[in-house]
């Protein structure tokens, strides 16, 4: 199978992850496009026989980090700077009940971990390798992300979470 054939087959998976990561469709597809272009220029770094999808997630992570940094020079993808790394979805926590908003409210570093584990079904070990962080950091970000989403979706009144299709 050709490199291009493998890449094409993986586009829908990349789009799904990007959509959840970035939110808006056009911006998510921009991220996928940048990732594919970057992947071609970095293909010599890909070790044949290893998981191509995981490698593409790594490429996407790097592209995304660079874009976030470029758009907000002071922003960082660190958990301890949630107010800077958060996406521009603000508002009353009580209104952040639906899934997309709850995900969007996470710091990017936590959102990545949650999506790779919960949506893309990567193991903790794979997630650590994709993001280039220790597995302990994966677990702590995962725990914080889940608690925050749970709190947001439950709301103060303990209302049931709503999934907006």
């Amino acid at each position: 199978m050709s490199d291009a054939g493998s890449l094409i087959a993986l586009i829908p998976r990349l789009r799904r992850y990007a959509r959840a990561l970035v939110g808006e469709r056009a911006a998510a597809d921009d991220l996928v496009q940048d990732t594919l272009e970057r992947a071609w220029s970095k293909l010599h770094l890909y070790r044949h026989g290893t998981d191509l999808r995981a490698w593409l997630f790594t490429v996407m992570h790097n592209v995304h980090v660079n874009q976030v940094r470029a758009s907000r020079p002071t922003a960082a993808l660190e958990d301890d700077m949630p107010e800077l790394a958060q996406r521009a979805v603000q508002g009353d926590a009580l209104l952040l009940r639906d899934l997309e908003r709850a995900i969007a409210a996470l710091p990017a570093a936590q959102r990545e971990v949650l999506l790779l584990v919960a949506l893309e079904d990567l193991s903790y070990d794979e997630t650590a390798r994709v993001l280039g962080i220790p597995i302990g950091t994966v677990m702590s970000r995962l725990a914080r992300a889940r608690e925050k989403v749970r709190a947001l979706m439950q709301g103060k009144g303990g209302s049931k979470l709503q999934v907006v299709k």
């Binding site: 291009a4 493998s6 993986l10 799904r16 959509r19 996928v32 594919l36 044949h48 979706m153």
Partner: protein, 261 residues
């Protein structure tokens, strides 16, 4: 409460929610959760969130892929082919090292490793389908007009007698087949096509002598749907990006009946 249960920690709750605990440990954690309703509720909420995330974003997999993304996936191949040719002209074939590098750079990657959600066969079948089904000029190595030769050749390479099911009754005619690389043994791919040009591929690999039979399993890789099963000596995967799940299941049943008269 056992010592093992006492040592249940935060990581165990997440691993439980993600289905990543080994059988024995899972039982221990579940026993602990039964005695800790607050944590049990939290772990259940984590698990429910996984399901909601997947349900919410799954439709993205079925959206048509924008052309600009397909171009981005293909672009460098054209550029690099041109560069490789330019390299050959400029440097000449006499410099073996350069030639070797070019060959290496062009080498196809192995298909991605199995994810825990779908076995290897479904992923590889889907990738093989995505690669060859769109081919207009060379979808198969050996055409259906040489069916006897095709079946004899693939049987010889797989080391067991394979058959190409007849699916005319389902509106699908055999286009032909090809041999695919696989570690350790080779794989056969048969391609079928309906009158409107919808394509289905049947991926057949030898499974060794002592395989159990399995039920049909369903998987989706990108926009390719796959039904796969193991039947005695062979593993089968029927893939299509053109048929919906119901149509594909119907066809998988027809294939199964054909192969097990």
């Amino acid at each position: 409460m056992s010592e093992a249960e006492q040592s249940v920690g935060e990581a165990d709750l997440h691993a439980w929610a993600d289905g990543r605990l080994a059988e024995g440990r899972r039982a221990e954690v579940e026993a602990w959760l039964a005695a800790h309703p607050e944590e049990a509720e939290r772990a259940a909420a984590y698990r429910a969130l996984n399901e909601q995330l997947r349900a919410h974003y799954e439709p993205v997999l079925d959206e048509p892929v924008p052309e600009r993304l397909e171009s981005a996936a293909l672009r460098r191949r054209r550029w690099r082919s041109a560069a490789a040719i330019a390299g050959w002209i400029a440097v000449g074939a006499a410099i073996g090292g350069v030639a070797g590098w070019q060959v290496h750079a062009q080498r196809a990657p192995a298909p991605p490793l199995a994810q825990p959600d779908h076995p290897v066969i479904a992923r590889r079948a889907a990738l093989a389908h995505a690669t060859y089904a769109p081919e207009v000029r060379h979808p198969v190595e050996v055409g259906a007009d040489q069916e006897q030769h095709l079946v004899a050749w693939l049987s010889k390479r797989l080391g067991a007698e394979v058959r190409a099911p007849r699916l005319e009754a389902e509106g699908m005619t055999l286009v032909g087949g090809r041999l695919l690389p696989r570690d350790p043994g080779p794989v056969a791919q048969f391609m079928y096509q309906s009158a409107p040009g919808r394509r289905v591929t049947l991926y057949v690999r030898s499974e060794g002598p002592d395989q159990r039979e399995t039920a049909f399993h369903y998987a989706r890789e990108g926009n390719v749907r796959v039904f796969y099963w193991i039947d005695r000596r062979f593993g089968y995967a029927l893939s299509s990006a053109d048929l919906d799940r119901e149509e594909l299941l119907k066809l998988a049943n027809a294939v199964y009946r054909q192969l097990n008269p």
